[in-house]
Each structure stands twice: as structure tokens, then as C-alpha cells.
Amino acid sequence: MGGAVSERGEGVAKVSLGVLFLAFLRLGCTSFGGGTAGWVYREMVQRRRWIDEQSFLAEMALGQSLPGANGVKIAVLVGRRLKGGAGAFAAPFAMLAGPFAIILAVGAIYGRLGDHRIVHAVLDGVAAAVVGLSFATGINAIAKGAPEPSSIAIAAVTVTCVGVLGWPMLPVLLGLGPLSVGLALRRARRG
């Protein structure tokens, strides 16, 4: 990789607005089980290689510090990085259009099906697989985008506080953010 550089910054490929729109439309229709930010990662970083790991995680970190649905935020930011203001509008619009139509259709069908026990069991199984997706995504992101021992420690502390102990995210971010940035600054100064 690494060859694709545009005036919008390093680490992104050149794509047309139409191709960007279609890619996010497809992504929206296939991103089952929530965790949409992970789907954007798999599609844009791992499969299409339109944006590299570091740039993606940097955009995601910016998104995490502001309110909003995570998948939509990362679509705005990746769209913006790839195609400027037009991309920032087209990517989330395309990503939400399919699910919007589908969920209204599914809601209408579910209204007729009623309440079957097996439906809940199937949904539980789907949810467990979805969790596997977030785990694999997080582990891949650390291995490729933040492999230093101190970064792995920061990620582990984040999981302990937010995931295991269930602390609210904002104070954790305010505490760990400056520490982690300080460590990164020291690494950058050393070379």
C-alpha cells in the first residue's frame, strides 16, 4: 500500500463520489447486528484498502470524543477524508438509506409474526456472533495500528474500565486520553 496519496491527506486512496456512495450503500445493507463502525473498518480498511489502519483509528478517535452514533460518525469522517464535504454527506446518507427501508419492512413483518420463543433464541445466537466481530476487529486494530506495549496496556485498561467495570466512557476518555497522547508524544520525540 502506501502509494495512494491525495491532497486530502496521507493514507487514503482516490475514489469517485459515485463509487463511494455505492460502497457505503452496500455496507449499510450488509452491516448486520449493530457495531457499524466495525463494519466500516472491515470494508474500508481491510477489504477495499481505501484508508489505512492508522488514519482510520485517528478518525475514529476524533469521532469518539464527540457525541453521535459511532457508525455514522466514522462514515462522516471517512467520507470527508476520501471526498471532502460531498463525501462527508454522501457516505452516511448512503449507509443509512438501506437500513432505513429494511427496518421498516422488517418491523411490518415482525408485527404479523407475533412472539415465538425460537425467534429470541436465534437473535441471541446472532448477537453472540456480532460480539465476536467486535472482538476480532478490536484485536486486529491493536495488532496493526497500536502494537507498542504501552498502547496494548492502554487498550487493556480501557476494556477493563468501560467494558468490564461498566464505567461511563467520558471520564475514562478524559483520564486515559492525555496519558496515552503523552506517551505517543514521547515516542515521536525519540524518533
Binding site: I103, A121, V131, V181, A184
Partner: protein
């Protein structure tokens, strides 16, 4: 229904637009508020209905927060679904776009790079935390943990594996176990 349609649309805006700007850490942060507003304050849905709509929004493709479209639909049909969806996604997106423009001006400076690289492991940790949080409240308990870890290992071993067959397999296995239990 027709004559208080504008009132319904306004109420949807009044609920979802502020929540858009309060959803720090993602839309999961405001699911509890959406439930409270929809059930107790505005009487848009019953408890039972809300639980169903929530489960559906997780099983369907797209962000889990598409729940707001389902609630809007219940309140005021297609117009309600559109208004609730735009009210929930637009304010936060505009704020983010403005912030990204300002942030982009410092691209390339040493401390800009340090902030980006320093926040990366935290972002990765939040991916993992989302999974842990779901498992902690999963009705299937230990079985959900085992299935989730199996799915994780499968994806790490075969990175090109498309997620949809994995989700279908998860649903099929749990459904089959439940069905066998019922038969027996």
C-alpha cells in the same frame, strides 16, 4: 391521527435532536433515555413493544440506533420515521463535520500526530468494550460468551471470512439448540 400529525413530528424532534448531541460514546449511551421518553414520558410504545423494537433494530442491518426510525414510524408513519431519523443523526453529524474541519488544519504537526496515535489504542479498547458490555447482559449467558469467543477465533484465523455466514451460523446453532430443547 392526521390532525395532530405536526404535533407528533415536533415531539419526535424535541426528543431525538437533543439526544443526538448527548450521545457521547455512541448511541448506546442514550438507549436508556430513548426508552424512558418513548414509554414513560410520551407513551409512544408499551414496555413490551419497546423491547421488541429494540431487538429488531439489533437484528436488522445498519446502526442499532435505527430504533429511532421504528419509534417514529409508530408515532406518525413514514413522515415520523424520516423526522426521527434525521433528528437523531443530523445534529451530531454537523457538529462532527465542523470539528473535523478545524482539526484538519493542524494535520502533520508533531502533537497532532501524537494525539492521533495516542487515541488509537483507546478507540480499539472501546471496540472490545462494546462486545464485553453486550455479553454482560446477554440473556444466553455463558453460551453467548463461548459462541462469541469461537466467532472471534474464527475471524482471527480466517480474516477474509465474510461476517454474514457467521451471523447466520450463530443464529442457526442457538435456534437449533432451543428447538431440540423444546422437542425433548
Amino acid at each position: 391521527m392526521r390532525d395532530n400529525l405536526p404535533a407528533g413530528l415536533l415531539a419526535l424532534c424535541a426528543v431525538f435532536a437533543p439526544l443526538s448531541l448527548l450521545s457521547f460514546g455512541g448511541s448506546n449511551a442514550v438507549i436508556a433515555d430513548i426508552a424512558h421518553q418513548s414509554v414513560a414520558v410520551r407513551h409512544w410504545t408499551s414496555d413490551r413493544d419497546f423491547a421488541d423494537l429494540f431487538a429488531l433494530s439489533r437484528a436488522a442491518p445498519g446502526p442499532g440506533s435505527m430504533l429511532c426510525a421504528l419509534i417514529g414510524w409508530k408515532v406518525a408513519g413514514m413522515g415520523g420515521a424520516l423526522v426521527a431519523t434525521v433528528a437523531f443523526y443530523l445534529p451530531a453529524s454537523l457538529l462532527l463535520f465542523a470539528a473535523a474541519r478545524i482539526w484538519g488544519r493542524w494535520r502533520g504537526s508533531l502533537w497532532h500526530r501524537a494525539v492521533e496515535r495516542g487515541m488509537a489504542p483507546i478507540a480499539a479498547g472501546l471496540f472490545l468494550s462494546g462486545g464485553v458490555a453486550v455479553l454482560r447482559v446477554a440473556p444466553a449467558g455463558l453460551a453467548a460468551w463461548i459462541a462469541a469467543l469461537a466467532a472471534t477465533l474464527a475471524l482471527l484465523y480466517w480474516p477474509k471470512l465474510h461476517p454474514v455466514p457467521l451471523l447466520v451460523a450463530g443464529g442457526a446453532v442457538f435456534g437449533l439448540i432451543d428447538w431440540l430443547g423444546v422437542v425433548r
